[in-house]
Symmetry: C2
Subunit: 510 residues, 2 copies
């Protein structure tokens, strides 16, 4: 199917033709002119992924004290087969992401349909029309070898292309606000030089018109407060020169709830880029520690979760301690330590490595193997074992499967010739795993199960009654609790029904 982009619901959207693009360019100019007449500044958001599409609505939704929008927002998404569908979907007033936050569909409808100050396009000429570009290009770390994050790197090719596109189109006084989590050093060593290069090609004197580049990282959390996690939360920012800093401060102050969550300015983009990656590394390290100790606790009959609660009583000094689980997923903790380590060695050419950071990623990435170890203690072989995996997203009550630890779990179960059937009430498709089918009916995964793994803490799973589960299985499965989802009372019920129960960090059960 050439030149068609297919949305997750299966609906097909033909990519725009050159004629359509021609027409779109005229529409963009016309809309922009109209919006300028209304006194609005014009913003483009580059990349309508997980952060970009919601950030765009937050910017469009921001109003002055009289209730007038500050900005008109153009959302830009390249016309790729993988992602173009987002453009027509957004323009119908519908979010391109699934979310449990009721504010998500509301804010899309409000900005696109009611206020009509957010519109998506695939035409990159849009960048020539705007005052601010918010860069939300996705940028991942590549980890070529499982459990060896020290070999990880950051492929900046697509990111650099995106920035080059900006350099070819933007006005010299346009602020480029990088919101993507980037390796420390990126604004100074990648973004600024590319813009300077393109400006120079266009005959712009970069001494008189130095590119305006700022950095401010989001702290978005999927789930029930998705929109609020962008708008109503502390922000850190910085810029490569005074003007960038001022424009960035003004922009963020207009869009975000800075009265309740004041901005923090850092001295340089190096500093704010480092802050973001350190912030997530802090949590990655914290989790890696808990896994080590969970394993120890398990073997000496201790419930690590009760230990954790005892330690966390020390508010302010010990209450950040996280809990062990199947593993670490999502888009931040799995890659940010790697971005920083790579930046240190490559962008800055420094010696050494961020040892705690890298080691934590390795421990966390290989964490799901520990759940397999737990199963192996109970069965001679995993071959032909029927394993029901409850939960494939990386977070409870959320359908996001990016870097989900359940993927590693299923892959390694398959490697040992076990049959893994997966279930998740929030996940329709699991694009990250080949030959995967995610069931929404427990009756499709439980009957005949030798092992039932509570992999994710979705409310539905926590509410399951042991008698129901055992009845659906028709067996007395081994129950594996990956993160203290089952209470001691529930565990006792499973035992009464003849099931063995095991759990990550739950040594007291045995």
């Amino acid at each position: 199917m050439l030149n068609v982009s297919i949305a997750p619901d299966g609906k097909k959207y033909p990519l725009p033709t050159e004629q359509e693009n021609e027409k779109e360019r005229e529409i963009l100019k016309q809309i922009t002119a109209e919006q300028r007449k209304l006194g609005r500044k014009i913003v483009a958001v580059q990349g309508l992924g997980f952060v970009g599409c919601v950030m765009a609505t937050v910017v469009a939704d921001a109003t002055d004290k009289d209730g007038n929008p500050y900005y008109f927002v153009h959302g830009h998404q390249r016309a790729s087969k993988r992602s173009y569908w987002k453009v027509p979907v957004i323009n119908s007033g519908v979010p391109p992401v699934a979310s449990s936050d009721p504010e998500v569909p509301q804010i899309f409808h409000r900005t696109v349909v009611e206020k009509k100050n957010f519109r998506a396009t695939s035409e990159e000429s849009v960048y020539g029309l705007v005052d601010v570009v918010v860069v939300d290009i996705q940028l991942d770390a590549t980890k070529p070898s499982f459990g060896e994050a020290e070999k990880g790197y950051c492929d900046l090719l697509a990111f650099r292309e995106g920035i080059r596109t900006l350099g070819q189109h933007i006005r010299p006084d346009c602020l480029v606000l990088v919101e993507t989590t980037v390796p420390p050093g990126t604004c100074e060593k990648v973004v600024k030089p590319i813009l300077e290069e393109e400006f120079t090609k266009r005959g712009i004197d970069v001494a008189a018109n130095p590119p305006l580049v700022a950095h401010s990282y989001e702290r978005v959390m999927p789930g029930a407060k998705y929109v609020a996690s962008i708008r109503d939360f502390w922000r850190v920012f910085s810029g490569v020169n005074e003007k960038s800093i001022e424009l960035c401060r003004e922009f963020l102050s207009n869009c975000l709830n800075v009265e309740e969550y004041p901005l923090t300015q850092l001295d340089s983009t190096n500093a704010s880029e480092l802050a973001k990656t350190m912030e997530n590394t802090y949590r990655a390290v914290n989790i890696a520690l808990t896994l080590e100790w969970a394993r120890f606790a398990e073997q000496i009959g201790v419930d690590i979760f009760k230990v954790r609660e005892a330690i966390r009583k020390r508010k302010g000094t010990h209450d950040n301690l996280l809990r062990p689980s199947l593993g670490v997923g999502g888009y931040c903790l799995t890659k940010d330590p790697v971005l920083a380590n790579w930046a240190m060695q490559t962008l800055f050419g420094l010696e050494g490595s961020l040892e705690m950071a890298i080691r934590s990623v390795n421990i966390n990435d290989t964490m799901p193997l520990h759940t397999i170890e737990i199963i192996k203690r109970e069965f001679e072989s995993l071959s032909n074992l029927k394993v029901a995996v409850l939960g494939v997203s990386y977070l409870e009550n959320v359908g996001d499967t990016r870097h989900s630890p359940s993927k590693t779990l299923v892959e390694f179960l398959r490697k040992e010739f076990a049959t893994a059937l997966t279930h998740d009430p929030y996940v329709e498709a699991w694009p990250e795993l080949d030959e995967s089918k995610v069931e929404s009916d427990l009756n499709a995964v439980l009957p005949g199960a030798d092992v039932v793994i509570f992999a994710v803490g979705h409310d539905q799973y926590k509410g399951l009654k042991p008698a129901e589960v055992v009845a659906m299985c028709g067996t007395k499965p081994l129950i594996v609790d990956c993160s203290n989802f089952l209470s001691d009372a529930t565990i006792a019920e499973y035992k009464k029904l003849g099931c063995k129960v095991r759990g990550v960090g739950k040594g007291h059960i045995v």
Copy 2:
């Protein structure tokens, strides 16, 4: 000088003779009988070190709602030359530890002199007279090779002897409450078996009279709230059987402020022992992370302390993030991760290691070398360099030098033939370092200094004016700030005076 114990102030105390011991045994019996008549239970505290001596006063100070003391407390310290002096000093109503907490001398005077329900002795027969023994024997980890904590172990010899002494004397219904931080497993695998062995030797049927062993760890902090950190703080406890748990709960509830700081009971002594070592490992790991990133930040012109403040804005999830410094000292973070790793491998015979824990200790132990690296960037050779080290304790405004990172700093400076002169307003003697003299007058260390290291954040140092320092030096020394003690304004002043300023994690200075 045989048979004499010398106090830190130089005063000499002859060790007791056998005749004196004979007399002391009678006195102990008599006092105990009198105190029992007053309706008080009798407690012994084993080991009058840093924790034990203050814990003893807290127990003695505890009263029922009518203001009557619950307990009479015998503090026991062996008649060694190193420590016997504490017995007569305490019995004169004076604390055997220096502290900035005004409550310390008060509570010693109140319990020893006024209430007369705390008394120290070196006679071990005291254990035969008591209802509760609180074990506060010092227990350290041995790290035979610098920077290789994986080779660390715990020499339990003296601890086992101490417990054996209890087994030889205590009544079978006496509660042994271990407060010492011990390797996980110690109560079950060391304390209980030794007591059983000694009970059996004494003809006590351990089936009918199983030893009563509990564990509850302190969270004492030296400094201005020393006493409160024992009495007014959350406690975790556990016991090896129901009766131990009940007696322990009753004892702690009588002595501590459990209304404001409720007790947390864990399922086993393994659990509470593990909790203590994990609690401190959590902080050790946290600091190790900051050092790595401090080094990175330093090299890319970033102030890690400002980054830290930006991250810590996220209260509840990120505000435990600690700060980098000269290094980690004191008696907890330097050894507890090692105790746990050793226990896992030796007491429990388990495979693997606590990798994050051990690595953090190695990073922290070798941290002071980073400050030397900072100096080396500025001088061709350290040979004959005159270095003034301001601060040799391990904590600000405290005179405690145990495992102080300044020791490593001075040792490695000496290794490179630098002359290190040390100053500390709180420290009179520095027993841990050979050939050390700690000055209390800045004029004894600053004149002619090539380098001035702000090693510890004592208030006195933070208040120093750059002009004063430079005048006393008579040189333009390199100023090294180990943990953000100097404000940006102070740094600017030093620069104005012609000094270079460098600092751990302070890349923006350069």
